[in-house]
Subunit: 285 residues, 6 copies
């Protein structure tokens, strides 16, 4: 899947906000007191674990927003697999700015790379199957756009970005509507022609009802692999099939083997550990 | 440690921003199309794993900002240990609002409870030792105040909130300054009387130099437990001692046994998995 | 089509911003100087032209944000056809607040009702045909969500809300990509399973190429009605068909008669005149 | 009248907000997926109708905020009369940025040029008379500053920018105050020496009362041309005279012939159709 | 002069911003740690110096934004003269909220009351003369609207609120334009009928030139009282006369005696000391 | 004390906000109407009084935000003592931008220099004593960070920046807690290891109790010099001693002579008059 970029105009407020959160009212007391204003430094963002990188653009922006004189040269691209010790980017310029922005840059880079790495590990686990790994709306408040980008950097695909860009009818919607078909009919009457409709089903009987309504996709929630296999057969290409429910890298291959189109995993964005990246100082002038 | 509360005026922008991020431009298409405007629902925030709760105030605010008619009754407090199936809060009111705010409320609650749970597990691991568990600045961009709160809810304590509320002299500051004592002297000349000064030392020799300068705290970075033990003896109460460097629940007890005052763990905020909490629908009217 | 509501949390910043724009730095000099603080007034929002109403919620919010003591009682709903002289809502409370918020309330209400009225007139013109009237991204900067709502209030449907919720491949994308099928292939490789793909075609030859790629919708741009008729036949239900290009109420029926699914009209949001609504003072106490 | 410029610091937030509204969370899916990052394009903003241009600065800013490498060369100035096919500006640079910003740039440019064109048509209609055409506070929420600028570009003049920069005593103020002279006296006691006072009068009797109070301007609302003629005679230069009430290009000349100083028209900003301007692609590299 | 009120919608962002500035990231550590959440307190805002009060509305809002359960009862109005020990308002409710908001409330109240007091002292000094005391644009960045309100509370009047609500031609404008009359002509050609034009003159010769142009007001800058007297005679009611230039309460009476209409004093807003007001605790429950 | 700098990312929103406050909706009417767009000017920020400068960076930013083509060359640094007539900075570039930004630049520079000057006068008054002059939280709402910077520029030091960066237990906290030692114990149980604890004491008996708790600092409030002398003796270096209570340059020396470490003065930020600085035009091209 092509890795669509992040727009600078979207990420700048995030990076600016994170810097201001760290600077507080008085700024970087330690650095401003100790480091001479004209001291330069050359440093390298270096991977300390194997993984997949995401967020270099945000890290670079953190340095440049604090100090426009800092130059950032990247040595790999988001989506690259990296090894421990591998240099990701060189950051050169006034030492004060480098030190002040360091933590913010790393907080973005390590978190997004952690998501990309987790995604890549599941993508790798199902290599050769047609299923694609997708994320959910279980993202960090405020960071959805960049976390979904990190999933793409790891080789995954994106589900809904929010409540407004697709219909996803869940069990509670069905319960209140009094039935799947009523729920689907109401959804169809409320949205435009470019909005896809997906329905969560817990049983094959519900699946049958949903299919009668020509929906775009079905979310097969917490089904066993044998149920999934039967579901895929029933759907027979009439809708996109998505399996969900506590998928892990271990269980992913057998789920993929059922023939589903998508496997969605909340864990990628809500619980993936960071990828450890550090900033090594190479030289001070 | 007393659990100091979060100010409503601080958290409201965070919750409002997260809701708007999820609503996008068109709002909750699914719910608005399917659920009648006058339908009521009673639901329960329910733990699905054992852990420690944090963030009930943010979850409640998510529901009320979307729909002021929603009533939230909490059944436990932040910092409580909970069991799978335990009810944390009852959410009653217009079903549309409950469904629309559900994911945002859970995204806050699950993440913060995950941090509290991780913290509590390390706190429990060193039970009986004097050492306290503290977090770092390795927090999610934009969420520092509430993540540090979650650490407190888990029984931990807080380190710096930012670059401006204490001095922490790190290895690169020392290297550029040309020595620990020069760095400390410059820091002291730059900050007010209410700002504490902590110095990172990698060796006992550096520790000796730092102690000669009457600093408030020393960060003993990546030392072995035997080095830590010697460091604590050298310090002899003249400064707060903090051990850091890839601490895990497994290694924490032996580190605590060295007699250090604080053990700092970045993992609590950058890599703790969420605590699984769900919203169960009890009745629709 | 069901009229999905506007979320209060989305429209409040718009109304607040409009009020502050009008108040400037010193507020309503005229009203504050002339009207006693304890004077009450009862007023009625009254249609002065026939049309379809949209924006009552925003008008009501304008009054209540300026003065929470103002009570607003609506006498019809958004989407209602109204006659000259018909009362839309009664606004009662402190006269100062009513006078200060009047222009902002009317600016929203008249503009949105104008869009709804224009939409309804075209919808009426093609009554009995299956085609639906849709809007475009040619909206007023900052007001897209509410202008698209007004189109729905007038009986129309919505096209994309932005660049991120569907793919619409236009002539320039095709030209740069070097062909329709290349463009479609690249788009498909870049977006998730819930994103629909629509392609603009200017000729039936292009249409043929697009249909080979299983796209979701085709935008038939500036075609004659005979071309449209042939296009609909060619598509044969394999994609949604959308006609566009300077549609007017006069030309809409013949376009609809070609059998297209959608007729998109930029004019609804970029050039519709307002619906004249006034605020009549009934009594001052 | 000199066309005073728009300050960049004022318009940047408007253009930035409009771009973010269009980009949403995921940005321009179509362009990012299809157009190579290094593709360049040269395009021309071209009038498709005769009219008067306004908003070139905002259009240029839209392109440059998305992509600073884009160069914009204008071929005419705001306020110029243009013919169909006339080139207004050349936009060159990375094709992605050009395509992504196109709609936002046009939304500003077409709307403001529409207002300028409408204004110019009325100004032309009363050519040779002393009366000046002025706008009202019936502007689009959030766009008042730039819409009033567009009126100036069309040869018109501006009325109040808000509730705080002049006093305009309307019929309801008079009714509540219990008389025109009381209302004027209260207003005068409440505002500073640089604030002008204008009074709306519906009858010549009210005009007489207002003139006794030495007010700066009178708004002659919905009067016939014979009433206006008498009013101008009564005023005899003692105040600025402004005619208002559903003025059209057709009725404007006879109103101007009464000798009034100003003719105010809400229609210029609330109902003027856009001027059609398109972006023509000349070459891709 | 009537004291026009401040709109709540304008001042709320100021008060909210000031509270957040004081709370920082972690909130009121001292109060939250020490004061039980259910403790109530009754306190009184009490003048400690004689003066004139301004800003009670902002002080009350500070308490209520932190804690909606706090009740504020005012015992006097803005613009009242108060004596040392006089109770201005009673603040009752949760002790935590009272203590947390105390400093922000007082920072607004003391500063604005200081401005009102300074203004009142000059107004008193020229009692019996027709001249009015006006402020300038030399205000605290961000606080212009409320500082100009405080001047009104002290019995003064307001000059321009900004660069956009009146024309004030200063010496440098004249120098660059190449003459007073050229400058006035250009200004007149650029602004609408509701914008007044004032010209700064340093000599009686300049005054003569300005008067020939029918300007609205003249700013007589740094003139001696004998020059002012001659200037007033020359103007003979054809324009508003304003004296400026390092006016003090001591020099104000002789300036007022020259017959000028206005005396403008930057000192009121840029250098007036605060009025000391404290918060006395009466009882804790 | 080293003068730590202000971060650009922190001050830019303040300067931008102040410029927008002054520009309002329509911008600088006078300058835009009178000054040709291509006119250049060279001007000099010039002290008109003796004092200490602070805020040159904000003044420079005001000019550059309005007009990036303006060049600012500073001739001294913040913290420098200056004489009347001394040139502080040269501002060259488009005359429109210089005139439009002039007042905002001066409002920042004069206010901050006033604070620096006031601070320097008290610092000078106690020259030779070990005591340092510190400011309080009695700052202008919204300007705390830059006002505290100005105190540092004048040779003073900073107290707390807000409620969250240190504990300061005041009389009301003690009263509600029921005693100094209870209050201290609660505070200690609530805050982290990098937060210092200071206690306000009114009597030597309270001081005795506080010292038993090993607090970091004591605020000796409104004590006589003989009480202060005894307090310093009692403390004997076990805590930082701070004297407060209506200190003036006249009383400061005798207070400093008591041997206290710090003397805090609210007056520096709440009531210091500005330092008069003007903008002299040298040449127009």
């Amino acid at each position: 899947m092509t890795l669509l970029p992040l727009s600078s105009i979207i990420i700048e407020p995030l990076v600016r906000g994170a810097l201001l959160e760290d600077l507080g009212r008085a700024g970087d007391l330690t650095t401003d007191a100790i480091i001479p204003v004209d001291r330069l430094a050359t440093t390298v963002l270096t991977a300390r674990q194997p993984g997949v990188v995401a967020g270099l653009q945000l890290a670079a922006l953190a340095f440049r927003l604090i100090e426009p004189a800092i130059e950032v040269t990247t040595h790999c691209r988001d989506g690259s697999a990296v090894s421990p010790g591998q240099a990701l980017a060189t950051i050169s310029g006034p030492a004060r700015g480098v030190l002040t922005a360091e933590r913010t840059a790393l907080n973005f880079l390590c978190r997004l790379s952690g998501i990309a790495t987790a995604t890549a590990s599941v993508v790798e686990a199902i290599h050769g199957q047609k299923a694609r790994i997708v994320c959910t709306r279980k993202t960090t408040p405020g960071l959805r756009a960049i976390e979904k980008y990190a999933v793409r950097a790891g080789g995954g695909a994106n589900h809904r970005f929010g409540l407004d860009d697709a219909v996803l009818i869940k069990d509670n919607h069905v319960a209140i509507a009094g039935g799947i078909q009523t729920a689907i009919a109401r959804a169809r009457a409320g949205v435009g022609h470019l909005v896809r409709i997906e329905v969560e089903v817990d049983t094959l009987d519900q699946l049958e009802q949903a299919l009668e309504c020509n929906i775009d996709a079905v979310l097969l929630d917490n089904m066993t692999t044998s149920e999934l296999t039967r579901a895929v057969t029933m759907v027979a290409g009439r809708a996109i099939t998505e399996a969900s429910g506590r998928v892990t890298p271990t269980t992913a291959p057998s789920i993929a083997a059922t023939g589903v189109d998508l496997i969605s995993i909340g864990w990628l964005t809500h619980s993936a550990p960071i990828l450890d990246v550090g900033l090594d100082f190479k030289a001070q002038v």
